[in-house]
Structure formats: C-alpha cells, structure tokens
C-alpha cells in the first residue's frame, strides 16, 4: 500500500506507468467517443417535445459532469500537496485546471446553443448557469494565480487554498435547480429513484459520461507527462529518455 504511494511520488515511475496506460486508453476512448457520437446522432430516438435539438445533451451533460468532478480532482490534489508536500499532487493540480476550464467552457457554450431553441434565450442569469460561470472563473483564477508567482512553492500553496475554498461551489451547482426557482430543468438522472428519461436515451447518456471521464483521464495524464518532462528536464532520467528517442 505505502510502496504504491512512494512510487506515485517518483516522476520516472509515473511517466512510465502513464505512458503504458495512455497507449491503450487514448485510442480506446477516441474510438469510444466516435462510436458514441454515431450512436446518439443516428440511432437514439428524437425527444417527444424537443425533437432532435435535445441531442446536444450528449455533449452538454458529460462536459458539465466531468468539469465538476475535475474540480474535486484539482482541489483534492491541491490538499494532498498542502499536507504531504507530494510533488506529483502539485503537478496533477496544475494540469487539471486548464482541462477543467475547457470542459466548463464547453458546457456553457453547448448549454447556450441548446437554450436558444428550447428556452428562447442564449443566456439567463439563473442560479445554475451563474454558478457554473463561477466555476469557470475559479478554474481561470487557479491558472492565473499559478502564473502570478515566481516562487512555484508559494504558487501551488495559494492555488491549493483557492481550489479548496472554491470547492463549496460544486454542491451549490448540483443543488441549485432544487433550491431555487430556475429556468434550468432539474436533473434527469436520479440516484435514489427512477430516472425521468427513457432507457433508450438514458444508456447512451451514461455511456457518454463514462467516455468523457476516460477522455479526461487521458488529457490529464498527457498534460502531466508534459509538465513532468518540463520540470525534470535537467534530471538524468529525462536526458536518458531523450537520448533513447533520438
């Protein structure tokens, strides 16, 4: 158990294991994404009220779900670095921020595109949409704060605190549609009762959420590998790696 954590703290080991994970996970998730897109665009039936426009849900919901989960990844990695001073946790926190920001941006954009034909507006300051906008600003804030420090140790400590403080936003986003009168509809996927979505539409959605989690893992690992090489560029293992690739 502990030896696993010690290995996780070693850059060459993490670089090696992430390489062998990516070798199959990256092609597998790209194929799964293409198959999923074909499934939701060609096979899944249209909705009885919204027709075909609801299909954007198969991008909108997974990006929104993973952007929130990604925030926990970032904040927990930040906390691990704060407490145990584990370098790899700092790398994970720094690399999770731009991916999370991109996913949040996609969720907002797809939501706006979906909102125009269904609600009749691109944007409305409702609790759900505004709290997701705050999530985007939190991600951008972490990216900017990290770059604002010359001392990387101080930067990662400040970013970890910001991520931890921002964590309170995630349950607010999740419950906003239940706590307040909002234009955004409540969740269709329910954990405690039957989902209010036909099975022929629900399973593709769950599938797409899993695919986006896999894609997120790939992007995070790719980003972390680049960051590792950059940080350890003067170390022996990176030099040996570069020599080997020539």
């Amino acid at each position: 158990m502990w030896s696993f954590f010690h290995k996780l703290g070693s850059p060459p080991w993490l670089y090696g294991i992430s390489g062998s994970i990516l070798r199959w996970l990256l092609p597998a998730s790209i194929v799964a994404l293409l198959a999923g897109l074909a499934w939701v665009l060609l096979v899944v039936p249209p909705d009885f009220r919204q027709g075909n426009s609801y299909r954007i849900m198969y991008i909108h919901v997974p990006t929104a779900v993973v952007s929130m989960a990604g925030y926990y990844v970032m904040a927990i990695a930040g906390a691990i670095h704060l407490i145990w001073k584990m370098k790899m946790a700092d790398v994970a926190m720094k690399c999770a921020a731009p991916i999370g920001a991109a996913l949040t941006f996609l969720a907002l954009v797809t939501g706006a595109i979906w909102g125009k034909p269904t609600w009749g507006t691109w944007w409305v300051w409702d609790a759900r949409i505004t709290s997701v906008l705050v999530l985007l600003f939190l991600y951008l804030g972490v990216i900017a704060l990290y770059e604002a420090f010359d001392n990387k140790e101080a930067a990662s400590r400040a970013c970890a605190v910001l991520s931890l403080v921002g964590m309170v936003n995630i349950p607010i986003i999740y419950k906003s549609v239940d706590w307040w009168y909002s234009l955004h509809q409540p969740a269709s996927i329910k954990f405690t009762s039957e989902s209010t979505m036909d099975a022929s539409m629900l399973y593709p959605l769950l599938y797409m959420i899993i695919v986006f989690y896999a894609l997120y893992t790939c992007l995070l690992l790719l980003n972390m590998r680049a960051e590792l090489l950059d940080r350890e560029r003067s170390k022996g293992w990176v030099r040996a790696l570069l020599k080997g690739s020539r």
């Binding site: 039936p45 704060l82 269904t118 009749g120 409305v124 609790a127 307040w180 209010t196 539409m201």
Partner: protein, 151 residues
C-alpha cells in the same frame, strides 16, 4: 500521522469548513433573491412589486392561450395551482411554449394585476422520451408528464 502533517490537515479541513459556512450563510441570506422568477401565488398575494421588471414562472393554463388574429399579440395565464396570473405578450414565442408547459414571463405588472410581458422563455422539464413512447403513454390513458394538449 506526523504532527506537522496533522496540523496541515487541520488547516485544510478548517479552510473547507470555514468557506462552506461563509458561502452557506451568504446563500441563505440571498435565498429569496437568487430565484429567477416569482411563482404566481406570490404575485397574487401581492409580494411582487408593481411597475418594476419582474419574472413570473409557472405552468401555462390549459385552454388559456388566446392569439390575436391580426397581430403577434397573445394572452395566456400562468399558474402554480395555488394562484393564477394573466399575461399579455406581443412577439415571437419559443418553440416549446405550449399549454400545460412551464414558461417564464419577464415584464411589468400593471395596476390590474396583468403581467405586460416583454420576454417569454419556455421552461422544459426533465422528462425525455421518444415520440412513440409518449404516444403509447397517451393511448394507455396516462398522459406523458408535462405533455400539452395542443401539441
């Protein structure tokens, strides 16, 4: 656990707890203001300001939509089943706007308690199903949740 790490863990937990309480109090304090719209019952009870821009959200009452034949003027009623607010609007309605469906109307209340709407937003619910399933539900006598009679 190492005492230094234990202290840092306590600091982290404190940050999370403290910020949650702080934000929780702000959200609780603002709870009324975060709502996007007033429910019709509160408008009927006089809790919504007259002559100011407000939003009212509810279900469009079945059979209440009256369209003018020579203009885009439309009148309908919004209800939350404990109060009903009449709304008039001139303009293009969203596709999903229908009787028996949720809608949010933005505008001003006039002296007669009629909402002079400047914007109508359709509010769709969380139910999704293929058209065949909706037809089958209707045929079996169970109207699909939220399905309007006019569509």
């Amino acid at each position: 656990m190492h005492p230094v790490r234990k202290r840092r863990l306590m600091i982290v937990l404190f940050i999370v707890l403290f910020s949650s309480v702080a934000v929780g109090l702000v959200v609780y304090g603002l709870s009324g203001n975060i709502n996007l719209f007033y429910p019709p019952a509160e408008v009927v009870a006089g809790k919504a300001p007259v002559g100011q821009s407000i939003r009212v959200g509810g279900m469009v009452v079945d059979g209440s939509i009256q369209r003018a034949s020579d203009s885009l003027r439309v009148a309908f009623e919004l209800t939350d089943y404990s109060g009903t607010v009449p709304v008039v609007y001139e303009g293009i309605l969203p596709d999903l706007f229908d009787e028996g469906q949720g809608a949010v109307a933005a505008g001003q209340l006039d002296a007669n308690g009629v909402l002079q709407a400047t914007e109508i937003l359709a509010k769709h619910d969380e139910n999704y199903m293929p058209p065949e399933v909706a037809e089958a539900l209707e045929a079996s006598g169970k109207a699909p949740p939220g399905a309007g009679s006019g569509s």
